[in-house]
């Protein structure tokens, strides 16, 4: 039986309390949210924190709501809650696309949105989703609250902008790309080897087009293919300001494929993953476009 090494456990009573505990115990202390990334690593003894600071039950970190021009998603929102949220799905269908293919219902019942992005696993689906949506992370420490754009959040595999004594409080997604606006929508597509498997590759697409089918804003996120900050910036730059045509989407896919740097593993060789990056980016763009404006399909 796999068993973790010895550790202490404290249940935080508030965000401030959590921060205080992290500061007091130093770098060997870790936040535990849903525990679905951290605890497996502890059982394998790949992680051996001395103290777990439990933030489950902190009401400040929960909830999905509209606030001004953003949708805010609390760090402790479970995958299952995000999947069930009509508000989130209405504004950003890609969040539901992604949640549907993250792990399995058991993991989704416990795993959290905040834990997902703080884990910063290169295969984490929500990282690419929030990147494409240009979300902002709200981070709190003893010095106060900071706001970090998603595209500056990831500092490398398993490394983020969240400091050792900080807590991710929530993610905020600008409503400017809400699917409730005409000509705007999003989609997420993933290839896995089996239900519940981590992505071989996945792509997120967020699109806004004007009345002439010109792309006014676009976000393309890529999962598990070594895209910097999970974003296909070059492909976004190519599409922005261009007419949304089948050819342009195909070319954006090619650009996305060129600019990522996947590594070979048992999920597939580099050429395949690179191909998938392009193929899925293309398909996600098509799916987002189809949702944004049904009339456009005929023209693609």
């Amino acid at each position: 039986m796999q068993v973790p090494a010895h550790f202490e456990y404290q249940r935080a009573t508030s965000v401030e309390d959590a921060i205080a505990l992290l500061e007091r115990y130093g770098p060997e202390s870790r936040i535990v949210a849903g525990g679905h990334s951290l605890i497996p690593m502890m059982k394998l003894r790949l992680a051996q924190p001395e103290l777990l600071v439990d933030i489950n039950g902190l009401a400040d970190l929960g909830g999905i709501s509209l606030a001004g021009d953003v949708l805010r998603i609390g760090a402790m929102v479970r995958h299952a809650e995000l999947l069930a949220s009509v508000t989130a799905g209405t504004h950003f269908p890609l969040l539901h696309d992604a949640e549907r293919v993250i792990a399995d219902p058991v993991v989704r019942n416990r795993g959290t949105v905040g834990g997902s992005v703080c884990q910063a696993d290169p295969s984490e689906d929500l990282s690419a989703a929030f990147t494409a949506l240009r979300a902002t992370a709200v981070i709190e420490g003893s010095a106060g609250v900071r706001r970090v754009p998603m595209r500056e959040f990831f500092h490398g595999p398993y490394q983020t902008a969240v400091g050792p004594a900080e807590v991710l409080v929530e993610l905020q997604i600008p409503l400017s790309n809400s699917a409730t606006l005409a000509g705007s929508s999003s989609a997420y597509l993933k290839v896995d080897r089996r239900a519940g498997d981590w992505a071989v590759a996945a792509a997120a697409a967020v699109l806004r087009i004007d009345r002439d089918s010109v792309v006014t804003e676009v976000g393309i996120g890529l999962t598990a293919v070594g895209a910097r900050q999970f974003a296909a910036v070059e492909a976004e730059d190519f599409l922005r300001g261009r007419q949304l045509t089948g050819e342009h989407i195909a070319e954006a896919g090619d650009i996305a494929a060129q600019h990522c740097s996947p590594v070979a593993d048992q999920r597939g060789p580099v050429d395949y993953k690179r191909h998938l990056a392009g193929e899925l980016a293309r398909r996600a763009l098509h799916a987002a476009a189809a949702r944004a404006d049904l009339a456009i399909i005929g023209r693609l």
Binding site: V3, H6, D104, V191, D192, P269
Partner: protein, 808 residues
């Protein structure tokens, strides 16, 4: 029952068993064991807690091949909760560092000189709790000198390959055995004369049965009586007792093996593993019971894997696809020790049944076994002693033949399937198939699937795709398998010197309830139900009143356990014969009770009555009571009705089936969706049809798993790339369609109730159907399992992958 709960009125699925009492004999009934399993009340090895029990943990090698320079256990020994640390050197002093395998080899218990695969056992820590045991592992210091590993089986016999088993004096290579079957000259002649020859290299990759419950043991040596009680995950408790006795020198009468509920075995729990022996030694050192339970990674890395056959098959045929000959060369990767659990005289198991279900005039195979720096094993995962490999080989070859000749795969099978009048059929490699009507099963599968319409749909789809370049492609895959199970006749087969007959002891209690004691061992197959029904059918006692006892060497007769689908063919037959003995004894008692001649009695399931007078009769319960009473018993009855039978099967039984799989493949991503799976099985007489179907369901899921995702690959350093369920993928219900099952019933002529084994049929038959379907969809001649999205896409690009190595 209220009206609202009546099936069909509440929207709930109707309960197929509602309102039915257990059948008297064969038929559907709810499994007796499910009441406890569904309530979480099963009792597994890890549930056992004995007073003062200690916990073991195994230190394992991080290297695939390395010399051990030194082991320092001092740090671990000074851990306050550690009670003992055992190393190979300690075992060497007891003469137990190496133990004999079931395949004429020896295997290390704890490494002494070298480690030979990643995950090999190096030391065993015994501590007061399982946390401390694990903590102490990191306090043991082992100095290794890494050596070049042999990973690719094709490199094992290269002249410059490092010698893995250099502890054996005089050994200069990694060759284990060469074995052949069939007639080489006749096959050569058939190939020389053939109009067409197709050949194909194919790998049946190393996979793992991965039972839900990992392996474990609680060993308890009573220091006063010297009696050893072992609670273990053992599919073959009696064989284990004999082997422990031989290894540790305690006579069998002082060893008791108890196998409680087992959470899946699939051949993974046949062998005796180093962890078990370490626990046994640890209980003798500490004087306390010692528990050791594997974790998932340990199970995947070190216990019996399955397959790993690198095969080159050739098929000779006429231009219209009539098979003239089959020839196969196999390179078998056995890992670092030859530790296959199979009948001793068959180093490649029953692989030589590779002519499958076809009329093949000439056939020949050679199998070469080699050592590599991987875990030992090979015979597991419902393989029927390597019939999985054989069946996959021939079913792939037939498809390759159809591909090369431009013929329809169903038509090629039709032209070659054995005909009913050929039975009993002796195949070119010597097996005698007992019974079968293959065309009937085959045509039924095609009809259930709507084969012709599927082919038309496929043609339409191909046209659309050619025009638009979009959409998925559909593929249809067939397989027809023949199994050989129920090992086996004593004259032909033994395991470790023990003949493969099974015993059954049937005790009928005074009021007519009964208990059946068996040597086989359920691992989830529903023995408590099936075997109760077998006796019920013979004696007319309700299955609810028949207790089936297995898994305790103190309470059951000797026999070799459950694997190779042998329980119903062998133990089931023993139970029938014991019940029939009881019945004949009951006839004599009934005759005395009714004061008539035994010959004048007629048996009417549960009751003897006088011929011509139904009213003059006695039931089995009354007879049982009389047999235990003061009634003066007739000659031939000593009292009571109990009976024993040791059943030596005259032949194996030969279940068969026709499978058809329909897949949709997305060529842009390589993803495969299994749309439909039609399975027609013939396992002879079905005792409990629902249990039979359950066994088939599981095996079909196995087939999807192996065909599409399961594999244990290794990188060039010998690192195991499938050592957790994140990397070793098992299929889920999401990958499985709603199975479409059909059946034909061709009784076995030599089994007392005509039953054949079913436990492994679907695992044997299904992988080829899935692979054939995927390759049919993408129009590729061959690519190895598993057909992951990456592999399917690469195969479409004309670059199929080597699935046993790290993807580069």
């Amino acid at each position: 029952m209220t009206a609202a709960l009546t099936p069909g009125t509440s929207g709930r699925r109707p309960d197929p068993f509602a309102g039915h009492a257990s059948p008297m004999g064969h038929g559907n009934m709810v499994r007796k064991e499910d009441a406890r399993f569904l309530r979480g009340r099963g009792r597994f090895v890890d549930d056992i807690r004995l007073p003062g029990m200690l916990h073991g943990a195994v230190l394992r090698s991080p290297y695939a091949h390395a010399r051990i320079l030194s082991i320092d256990t001092g740090g671990a020994e000074s851990h306050p909760k550690v009670r003992a640390v055992i190393t190979g050197a300690d075992l060497e002093r007891r003469g137990m560092a190496w133990i004999p395998t079931l395949s004429h080899d020896v295997a290390a218990v704890l490494a002494t000189d070298k480690v030979r695969y990643q995950g090999q056992e190096v030391a065993f820590v015994v501590a007061e709790d399982r946390y401390a045991a694990r903590d102490a592992l990191s306090l043991i210091e082992v100095e290794y000198e890494p050596l070049e590993p042999v990973i690719d089986a094709h490199r094992a016999l290269a002249p410059d390959a490092p010698v893995i088993r250099d502890e054996i004096p005089g050994r200069t290579d990694n060759h284990i055995f060469d074995w052949e079957a069939g007639d080489a000259a006749a096959t050569e002649a058939a190939f020389a004369a053939a109009e067409h020859v197709s050949s194909c290299e194919m790998l049946y990759p190393r996979v793992h049965p991965a039972p839900l419950e990992t392996c474990g043991i609680v060993a308890d040596l009573d220091p006063v009586s010297g009696r050893l009680v072992v609670y273990a995950t053992a599919q073959a408790p009696h064989a284990h007792r004999a082997l422990y006795s031989g290894i540790i020198g305690i006579p069998e009468n002082r060893i008791r093996i108890i196998s409680p509920d087992i959470g899946g075995g699939f051949g993974n729990k046949v062998a005796i593993y180093p962890g078990y022996l370490c626990a046994v030694i640890a209980t003798s050192i500490t004087g306390a019971p010692v528990k050791w339970t594997e974790d998932r990674s340990e199970n995947l890395m070190s216990t019996s894997f399955a397959r790993d056959f690198h095969m080159r098959g050739e098929i000779a045929a006429t231009r219209d696809g009539r098979i003239q000959g089959l020839r196969v060369q196999v390179l078998a990767d056995h890992g670092a020790f030859n530790g296959t659990s199979q009948p001793s005289k068959f180093p490649a198991g029953f692989f030589h049944i590779f002519t499958g279900s076809y009329s093949v005039p000439a056939a020949h195979c050679t199998v070469r076994g080699v050592y590599t720096n991987k875990a030992p094993g090979g015979v597991a995962y419902a393989c029927s002693f390597r019939i999985t490999e054989a069946s996959y080989l021939v079913e792939r070859l037939v498809d390759v033949l159809a591909f090369d000749l431009g013929l329809d795969a169903a038509e090629v099978r039709r032209r070659n399937l054995l005909r009913p009048e050929q039975f009993p059929y002796r195949c070119a490699t010597g097996w005698e198939y007992d019974s079968g009507d293959y065309p009937r099963a085959f045509e039924l599968a095609l009809e259930m699937a709507g084969y012709d319409e599927l082919r038309r749909e496929q043609a339409r789809g191909r046209r659309t795709r050619a025009e638009t370049g979009e959409g998925t492609v559909m593929g249809i895959g067939l397989s027809f398998f023949t199994e050989a199970v129920g090992a086996g006749p004593r004259k032909d087969m033994d395991i470790g010197g023990f003949g493969m007959a099974d015993a059954a002891e049937l005790r009928v209690h005074p009021t007519g309830s009964a208990e059946l004691r068996l040597s086989c061992m359920s691992q989830g197959q529903g023995h408590e139900t099936t075997f109760a029904q077998i006796v019920s059918e013979e004696l007319g006692i309700s299955p609810d009143d028949i207790e089936v006892i297995e898994g305790d060497t103190d309470r059951t007769p000797f026999g070799l356990g459950t694997y190779g689908s042998r329980s119903t063919p062998v133990s089931g037959a023993a139970a029938v014969m014991a019940a029939r003995k009881v019945r004949e004894r009951a006839r004599l008692v009934a005759a005395a009770m009714l004061e008539v001649s035994a010959d004048d009695l007629v048996w009417d399931k549960g009751r003897f009555h006088v011929r011509g007078d139904r009213a003059a009769g006695v039931g089995i319960g009354e007879i049982a009571l009389a047999a235990h009473s003061g009634l003066e018993l007739p000659e031939g009855v000593e009292g009571q009705l109990d009976a024993t039978c040791v059943y030596n099967p005259p032949n194996l039984t030969f279940p068969f089936g026709a499978y058809l799989c329909v897949v949709d493949v997305d060529p842009g991503t390589g993803q495969v969706t299994v749309r439909r799976f039609v399975a027609v099985d013939d396992c002879g007489v079905r005792i409990n049809p629902a249990i039979v179907e359950g066994q088939v369901h599981g095996g079909l899921a196995d087939g999807i798993g192996m065909a599409l995702m399961e594999v244990m690959a290794f990188d060039t350093d010998g690192n195991h790339l499938g050592a957790s369920f994140m990397d070793y993928l098992l299929p889920t219900s999401m990958e499985c369609p709603s199975w479409e099952l059909g059946k034909t019933v061709t009784p076995s002529p030599h089994h007392p109730i005509g039953a054949k084994g079913i436990g492994e049929s679907a695992t044997v038959g299904s992988p080829a159907a899935v692979v054939n379907a995927v390759l049919d969809a993408i129009g590729v001649r061959h690519a190895d399992m598993p057909l992951t999205p990456a592999h399917v896409w690469s195969a479409i690009q004309g670059r199929p992958l080597r699935t046993d190595l790290a993807i580069g």
